[in-house]
Symmetry: C2
Subunit: 409 residues, 2 copies
C-alpha cells in the first residue's frame, strides 16, 4: 500500500537519526506481501544489551507478542527482527511455529540463542506467515549490517503509513552524553488488517533492565497510551526499548541520575506518538484534547479518551464545526463524575460554554478560524477537582472510510 | 432535515396503527426549527393512565429527561408533549424553566397538574428552547385531539430520521384483548446535534405502574439497549410506556397473567429498535451479531457491543469484506474472558474461522454473496461457556461522514 495513499497533510519530516553504538541494521525485501520495497528489518544488538517492552492489552494478541512477552523475562537482547505485510495474528499453532522458526534462524545466523531474539510482525491478520521467506534473506541481512541505517529501518516497517516516523534525543547520564533513537509505524491506534502500532527505541546508555522497564512503562502512559485514531485496540501493539550500554556511562538505576534520560526518553516517545496520530488513517487535523477539573488524573484521561473516540466529535471536527454539544455528550457518556451545570468547553482558547451553558456573546470569529486549521485544541473543564490529562487524536473523514471500507478486497 | 436525506435502503413501511382507547393525539407546526412540517405532538391520556419510563445513562441528560425522572415517581400520566428540532439539552436554568413552562401550559389546557405531564425534546443541543412557541399552539392542539393519529405522531417527532417508525401488537390479558402501539424516532443510537432516540408506547391495558416499569426495564435490555449506531450515548434517550386501562381487563401484577402482554410488548420494542438501526445514519446494511460460548450472557452482550461499535468492523462490512480478523480484534479488546485459540467466526452461517485459525478450504462463495446483501449475520463462538446474546448495528459508510461532518454548518 505504501505509495498508493497520499502523504498525510499532517506529516512531519523524518529527523536525521545518528548511529547508536552497539546497534547495526539491515533491511531486505522478502516479497511476502509487498513488491518492490523492503519489508524486513534485522537489528543486531551488542552483547550486554538490556531490554524493556510494553505490549497490547488486546486479549487475542499475535504470536510475536506472545514470543516477546516470554523472552522479555531474560532482560537481555541480541537482535530484533521485524517484518511488514503479515502480522502473524490469529494463525494458531502455525503462527507460533513461524515465530520460533524466525527466531531460531536469526539466532543461528548471529551466533546467539533464540531467547535473545525479539520479534514483531505487522500486516494482514489470519494468514499464515511464510517464515521461510524471512529465513531465506537472513544471511544477506547479516552480511549487510551497518551502523547508519535508521531511516531505512523506519521505511521497512511501514504498512499503511504514509510517511516514516523517527525521533532522536541526547541526555546526560553519569557524566557522559547518551543517545536515544526511536522509530515507529502505525496509521491508526490500529488498523488490524495491517496491524498495527510498533515502536522500537535504541539507546547506547547502560541501564539495567528493571530501570529501563519502569521508565518505558511510565513513559508510554502519557504518550502512546494517550493517542487514539479509531478506538480499536490492536492485536500487535509493541514498544521495545533496547539499551546497548556502549556509551561508557556506569550502569545506574538511581532515579535521580536517570532524570535527564527519562526526560529525553519521554520526548522521543512523545514525538513518535504524535507522528502516529499525524498519520491517522484519513486524518486531516491533529486534535489535542485537554481535560481539567476532573476528580483525578485518571478520570481526566478516561474522559479525554471518550471524547477522542467519539465518532460524532471527530466528524464534527472534520466538518470544521466547533460543536461543543457533542463534546458535552461525550463527557456525559464517559461514566466519570461530571455535573452538566459546571462544564466548560473552550476551542482554540475561546470559552464557548461555561457553567453548563453557552457563553453569551462569545467571540465566534477566532473559533471559526481555529477550526479551519490543521491543529485543533479543545479544553474541557469538568469543574469538580484538580485532575487533568491531555490526549491526542485526529478527525474522522471520508479518507478513513475509503481506507478501511475497501482495504482487503 | 426531513426530506433532504434519501430514505434509508433498509426502511420498512409504517404498519397501520389502530386507535388505543384512552389516547387522543394532535400535532402542530411551531416553526421552532423546521419549516413546513409538524414538529410538536400532544398525546392526551385518559384519567387513571399508569406510566413507566427508562432514560439515558448519559450523565449530562437534557432538561426533559430530568423532568420525566422527577414526575415518573407519581406513576400516573395525563399527557405527553414532544417537540422536534430543539433537544433542550445543556441549556442550564433556562432549560429547566422551558420544561416547567411547557408542562404548566399543557396541564392548564387539559385541566390537570404539571406532575401528570411527560415531556421529551429532540433536536439541536445547547440552544435555548423557546417554550412560548409550544405554549402558543397548545389550545389548537387541544381542539384538534383525535383518537386515530399515530401515523401523524410518528412523523411529527422525526429529526434526521428518513422514515417514520411504529409497531403494533395485541395480547390476551385477563380474558380480554389489549392493544399496544409504539412509535419511535432515532437515526443513530444518538446524533447529539439532533438528539436522539425517543420511543413512546401506548396500551389500553390496565396494569399497575410497578409491573409496567418492571416489564419495560426488562424489555429494553434485549431490544433498545442491544442496538448501536455509533457508540455515542445520547443526552435525551427516553422510552415511555403508558397504560390507559381502558381495555376492560382487571388490573393485575401477576407475572403469569402478564406473560402474553410481556411477549407483545417485547415484540413492539424489538420492531421499533430494528427500525432505528435500519435508519442509522448512512446505513446501507443491517448487521446482526450473535455471540455464543461466552462465560455469561452479560459477557456475551459486552463482547457483541464492542464488535458492533468497532469502526474497523463496520467499515469492513460497508466494503462487503467478511473480515473476520477485525472481529477477532474486537473480541480481544472487549476485556472479557476470551482465548484466541478457541475463537470461531461465522458469516452468513459459514464458519470461516474455528479454534483460533482459518477453516481450511471453507466455501467462500456463499460468504461473498452474503456480504453483498442488505442483512448481514455474524456469529462469534467464544468457546468458553454458555453465555449468549444478540446485538444489532449498521455499517459505517461515507453517508455517516456526510451527515455528521457537515450537519450544523
Amino acid at each position: 500500500m505504501v505509495g498508493q495513499l497520499p502523504v498525510s497533510p499532517l506529516a512531519l519530516p523524518l529527523p536525521e537519526l545518528p548511529p547508536i553504538a552497539g546497534v547495526r541494521m539491515a533491511t531486505a525485501a522478502t516479497g511476502i506481501r509487498y513488491k518492490g520495497r523492503t519489508d524486513v528489518l534485522l537489528a543486531e544488538l551488542a552483547e550486554g544489551t538490556n531490554v524493556a517492552g510494553v505490549f497490547t492489552r488486546n486479549q487475542c494478541p499475535g504470536a510475536p507478542v506472545s514470543w516477546c512477552r516470554e523472552v522479555l523475562s531474560g532482560g537481555t537482547a541480541r537482535a530484533l527482527v521485524v517484518n511488514a505485510g503479515n502480522a502473524n495474528v490469529f494463525t494458531g499453532a502455525a503462527g507460533a511455529r513461524a515465530a520460533e522458526t524466525t527466531a531460531a534462524a536469526a539466532a543461528a545466523t548471529l551466533g546467539t540463542q533464540p531467547g535473545q531474539i525479539f520479534l514483531a510482525s505487522t500486516g494482514v491478520i489470519g494468514e499464515p506467515l511464510p517464515a521461510e521467506k524471512i529465513v531465506a534473506v537472513m544471511d544477506a541481512l547479516k552480511a549487510d549490517l551497518t551502523a547508519d541505517r535508521f531511516a531505512e529501518a523506519a521505511c521497512a516497517i511501514m504498512t499503511t503509513d504514509t510517511f516514516p516516523k523517527g525521533a532522536t534525543r541526547t541526555a546526560r547520564l553519569g557524566g557522559v552524553e547518551v543517545r536515544i533513537n526511536g522509530i515507529a509505524k502505525g496509521s491508526g491506534m490500529i488498523a488490524p488488517d495491517m496491524a498495527t502500532m510498533l515502536s522500537f527505541i535504541f539507546t547506547d546508555a547502560a541501564i539495567p533492565a528493571p530501570a529501563l522497564q519502569a521508565m518505558l512503562s511510565k513513559g508510554v502512559e502519557n504518550t502512546f497510551n494517550c493517542i487514539t485514531i479509531d478506538s480499536d485496540t490492536s492485536t500487535s501493539d509493541t514498544v521495545l526499548l533496547f539499551a546497548t550500554g556502549q556509551a561508557g556511562n556506569k550502569p545506574t538505576q538511581d532515579p535521580g541520575a536517570l532524570a535527564d534520560f527519562r526526560r529525553a526518553l519521554h520526548e522521543v516517545l512523545h514525538d513518535l506518538a504524535m507522528m502516529v496520530v499525524r498519520d491517522g488513517e484519513g486524518a486531516q487535523k491533529l486534535v489535542t484534547i485537554n481535560v481539567e477539573g476532573a476528580v483525578s488524573h485518571a478520570s481526566a484521561k478516561r474522559i479525554g479518551m471518550v471524547i477522542a473516540n467519539s465518532p460524532l466529535v471527530k466528524t464534527a471536527i472534520a466538518g470544521e464545526d466547533a460543536n461543543w454539544g457533542r463534546i458535552v455528550m461525550a463527557v456525559g457518556k464517559a461514566g466519570e463524575p461530571a455535573d452538566r451545570d459546571k462544564l466548560g468547553v473552550a476551542v482554540g482558547g475561546v470559552w464557548m460554554a461555561q457553567n453548563g451553558g453557552v457563553v453569551p456573546g462569545y467571540n465566534e470569529a477566532p473559533v471559526v478560524q481555529h477550526m479551519k486549521g490543521r491543529e485543533i485544541e479543545i479544553t474541557v473543564d469538568i469543574g469538580l477537582g484538580d485532575g487533568h490529562a491531555t490526549v491526542w487524536t485526529c478527525d474522522l473523514t471520508h479518507g478513513y472510510i475509503d481506507i478501511n471500507g475497501s482495504y482487503r478486497s
